[in-house]
């Protein structure tokens, strides 16, 4: 856990370690057999809800499609790269193409309440947990 952000130099290192510690954790169960597929996804818990953060640099928002049903979220789209005419390519590391990835989260979510935001090449999906899935305090009589 990287709860302390008081020290900005330590904070990023702590975040990197926390991310490493959960690399391909079994939290998803068999929900995403597609680990290793494009695009790479990180999932966080924030309070009672969840946030999925996906790195998708250089995409046009209109080429991105997100669907949600029950506990399944599908992210699909295409990425295009234009070099323009007359260009001779010296180095080509970026890749273009199509992608289609479905993930089933092992929790009950509110598919209608999912919010998506694309900024600086990063897609953030705010996934609210279904009320029925939230833990309830049990009163002792």
């Amino acid at each position: 856990m990287f709860s302390s952000f008081n020290d900005p130099f330590e904070a990023l290192f702590a975040l990197q370690r926390a991310l490493d510690a959960r690399t391909a954790s079994d939290w998803m169960g068999r929900g995403t057999a597609a680990s290793g597929s494009f695009p790479p996804i990180n999932i966080f818990q924030k309070g009672e809800d969840f946030v999925a953060i996906v790195e998708l640099p250089g995409l046009d928002k209109s080429d991105l499609e997100i669907e949600a049903k029950e506990n399944t979220i599908r992210i699909s789209g295409k990425k295009t790269i234009a070099y323009g005419q007359q260009a001779s390519v010296h180095r080509r590391e970026r890749v273009a193409g199509v992608f289609d990835r479905t993930l089933s989260v092992p929790i009950r979510i509110e598919p209608g309440g999912i919010k998506a935001e694309y900024r600086d090449g990063v897609l953030s999906l705010f996934i609210p947990r279904a009320d029925a899935d939230k833990p309830r305090a049990i009163k002792i009589s």
């Binding site: 952000f5 904070a11 966080f44 010296h90 970026r94 600086d120």
Partner: protein, 130 residues
């Protein structure tokens, strides 16, 4: 049929000198292409905002650094991860035929486009065959 995209594993910067902070820095995936007018360097830095880019030219070496804003991860606990995050840095040796005063950079959707215009004398002249 379009090519199906594959995940590219992030490569860490191999430094000749060590940083003062232990955090890892990544190598941005880069395309470089040349037109008659300029050399264009395109780097992918997801999570880096337009004001967090720094490009420098010194001794014919162009260095581009991008800093991510990781404060948005505050209060979030990772449950499942497939990639790591960190700042980006990469440098390239360029020829001195670049007009260093006219270098421009643009950032959009996590992609930096650096245009290095060729110096006048470096532009090719068409030679007529008599």
């Amino acid at each position: 049929m379009a090519q199906e995209l594959q995940v590219q594993q992030k490569r860490e910067v191999e430094k000749k000198t060590e940083g003062t902070i232990p955090a890892r820095v990544f190598v941005p995936v880069t395309d470089i292409f040349e037109t008659p007018e300029a050399l264009t360097v395109v780097l992918e830095m997801p999570g880096v905002g337009p004001n967090s880019i720094e490009a420098n030219v010194e001794n014919d070496i162009v260095t581009i650094e991008g800093r991510i804003d990781f404060t948005k991860y505050e209060g979030m606990q990772p449950v499942y991860t497939e990639y790591n995050v960190g700042h980006y840095a990469r440098s390239f040796q360029i020829s001195n035929k670049i007009d260093q005063g006219k270098i421009s950079a643009e950032m959009k959707d996590g992609v930096v486009t650096l245009v290095l215009p060729k110096a006048e004398q470096a532009k090719a002249r068409r030679i007529k065959v008599a």
